[in-house]
Subunit: 525 residues, 2 copies
Amino acid sequence: MEVPLLVTDFLRRAGALYADKTAVVDGSRRYSYSQLQARVHKLAHALRRLGVERGDRVCILSPNSHFFLESFYGTSLIGAVLVPLNYRLVAADHEYILNHAGVKVVLVDHELTSVIDEIRPQLKTVQHWIVAQDEGDAPAGWTDWEALVAPESETAPEAIDQDENELVSINYTSGTTARPKGVMLTHRNCTINAYGLIAHLGVRHEDVELWTLPMFHCNGWGGVYALTGVGGTHVILRAVDGPEIWRLIAEENVTFACMAPAVLRTILDTPEGQRAAVTTRPRFTVAGAPPPSAFIERLERDLGWEFLQIYGLTETAPLLTVSRPDHHTRQDDWPRRARAGVAGLGVEMVLLDDEDKPVPQDGATVGEVCARSNVVFKGYWEQPEETARAIRDGYFHTGDLGVWDATGSIHIVDRKKDVIISGGENISSPEIEDALFQHPGVLECAVIGVPHEKWGETPKALVVLREGASATPDELIAFCRERLAHFKCPTSIELVEALPRTATGKLQKYKLREQFWGEGQRRVN
Amino acid sequence: MEVPLLVTDFLRRAGALYADKTAVVDGSRRYSYSQLQARVHKLAHALRRLGVERGDRVCILSPNSHFFLESFYGTSLIGAVLVPLNYRLVAADHEYILNHAGVKVVLVDHELTSVIDEIRPQLKTVQHWIVAQDEGDAPAGWTDWEALVAPESETAPEAIDQDENELVSINYTSGTTARPKGVMLTHRNCTINAYGLIAHLGVRHEDVELWTLPMFHCNGWGGVYALTGVGGTHVILRAVDGPEIWRLIAEENVTFACMAPAVLRTILDTPEGQRAAVTTRPRFTVAGAPPPSAFIERLERDLGWEFLQIYGLTETAPLLTVSRPDHHTRQDDWPRRARAGVAGLGVEMVLLDDEDKPVPQDGATVGEVCARSNVVFKGYWEQPEETARAIRDGYFHTGDLGVWDATGSIHIVDRKKDVIISGGENISSPEIEDALFQHPGVLECAVIGVPHEKWGETPKALVVLREGASATPDELIAFCRERLAHFKCPTSIELVEALPRTATGKLQKYKLREQFWGEGQRRVN
């Protein structure tokens, strides 16, 4: 018997088996699985009533919240496609994405409606504007989420005959150009990824997960499905704050969390006096950049908690590799444990040279990290040429450069694509360069990622001024901040005489990065 | 990206990542994952050389052994279909199955070649006869496995373009009639089942599994795939023996085992003086009948080991439900923990009445246990009418009768089909009745399952003799033993005056069973 692998199955199971268990804790609100399921059903009915049909796009712009969690299932249940927006982007980015994806309904957190109002006239396809708030009146031009769903039935909407290769979501990510790309994830991608999380991160019924990770990031990393499927409890964290995280871990008996290294640092750096007394031994899964070894040691040796490093991309749903103590990895071998690690179940990894031939597993030869798996995305929304560039000869090419050893353990050392990853978010260098080029004094510029203690990497611009021009680095940074989301702006600018180029005039960013990354092999974080 | 879900992926991963880790311990032999993989590759090449093509059937008749483990992967790698035989059957059963499945190659353990030699002239499709033995000469008419694979390459055979809905194996099971049915399991069935085992049985990298379960049973329960995929270690047990099990648990640091209740009893009943000192805390998964609560208590409270009850059938690859401590189940609620439990991930369970309507979840109303899932088999080999009977209206009908409560917890109470499950093996009542009817003194008979301390159930025959006939129960049992595999023979026979029938003359086995199953609701084990 072949039954489609659908992400909605995870909530169906929890709703049927753990109706009275706490599904989600969000501030003072607590919903059991039957309540969560009822809310999801009501949302699905309401979206249908608004005219949302199978394949239609619905976006959500929100910090973590129970509404966000509900939106994943509410859309999938009726075959709609969720477009989770990064709330760190500026209005112009949202405008591009909403129009590119052809979004019909926007679901927006009450603190972010003004961002959308700013671009409302330019949003050609949006028909409905829903504001998510637990209380208060909806602003003008917005329909209140709770009022919208109130009249709807709590029973499951009529099932549709879905195929597992239909879309769950489109996740926009900065690419090698300034133009964001919409990563299409299918039910099959997300289901297999959730099984991988359960297998490798040990997600289980007893888990209480603190959402230290933004739900918009990599489709919520699949935790939305894995944790729900086993009937665990979601604890919402709206904004990263050290003492608040300690409080929630202690009060909600948190056992599990996923985070970028910057969040791990915030937790470890919370002063003793602001730490609540924790009695659980939470597992912390870190992705994005590997944290310094010292962090892992502090977490495992000093706190007695558990550390797991994983690696993946939005394009891979995201879990590709995992690093944990195993046959080859001692618990206290912190540097090895900070690596990307080894391929998960159902994932075939290979490091390829420029001619797409595997590089030797010698721990030294650099190759592009490539993957073949059911977690690899379906393609970029309406950008078939970009899809063909990324998935070729049966492998998804991540754009990350790594080395691997005889045990299959992968260590990321550099990035082929011109992307900076800061605090877990992708930043496109060309996008910053485009902004700088708008300044009349800028003749040439190159933006690279340089190491940053908290964010892993941060953008740095090297600028050659036109003859006679006199802009200062601070002026140029301020110029960028007027045009770009703040997290994308260079944190330092250096005025230089010239940029290193090849004989054919091609900019050698590799050489620029070298001077900032010291002796080691690694030039990304 | 859609990549076929193939069971061969589990060994590919372990071979690539854990080459030097012990894959299998079989007596004095120990093979690492690279050795196991090399042996599997050599077998695959050898089978190809013998003319085995995609879709061809290869059978194995063997107690647990490293050869058996190798046969699963060696066949799947080249798209061949494994037919694992139950070594408790008699030659006539094997003859039927081998001819029905049209087997091309037989792989047979050195202790069992004579069983096959007995029926050799009747096996019309078999072309090659391979004997599995670690040492010694092959008997006449048999090719030695080691000699066969010796000249072959250790590298992976050329990949074939397999579909995930192609067959992995055909597992013959006794049905409601005397005619065995071949359960076809696909790559997709087995892969999703393995993910379920990993999720619900917590199968992990550190696991050392003792094969207390025969590998022929339910396609090895999927442990062949799940444990291999995470790089655990298989410890072979050739025959169930209490002190030997204790020795292996202690010496190999066993952490995990699957078994029928009879094996659990053997382990618990091993006298103190014959128990090796165990330092691990193994998890024991029990399937088939639920063990008495006292067994669970002895295992968890006295030994400090872990108990998990699961439920499934060969037709479901097999994992359907799992019972473990959870939101609704206290650790010491032994009777609840002995139940079949709740649906696993990706499994939709429902209890249906005779009109295929769901029965209320009141813990009292009896319905047939039905499932909709990717673990449900593809159908019965060349018996489409049986397939249509078993899978209808989108649900596989197990033939087991149960009750379920508001938490979705299922308790099996009776069986719709005329099957007795003794020591985990299906026995067809009509097959025994057919044998009894061959006796000239038997006028009428009915075979039912009655409770048995060790085997859960055992067949009992109620016989009405012809007037003037004078056979004793012992004579009738001896008569059966000449015609049937020993495990299928009645262990008791009662001579009665008449059998209860409905007005239309239909035999009421339900009434017969009542008197042997006491007060409770349950009439199967």
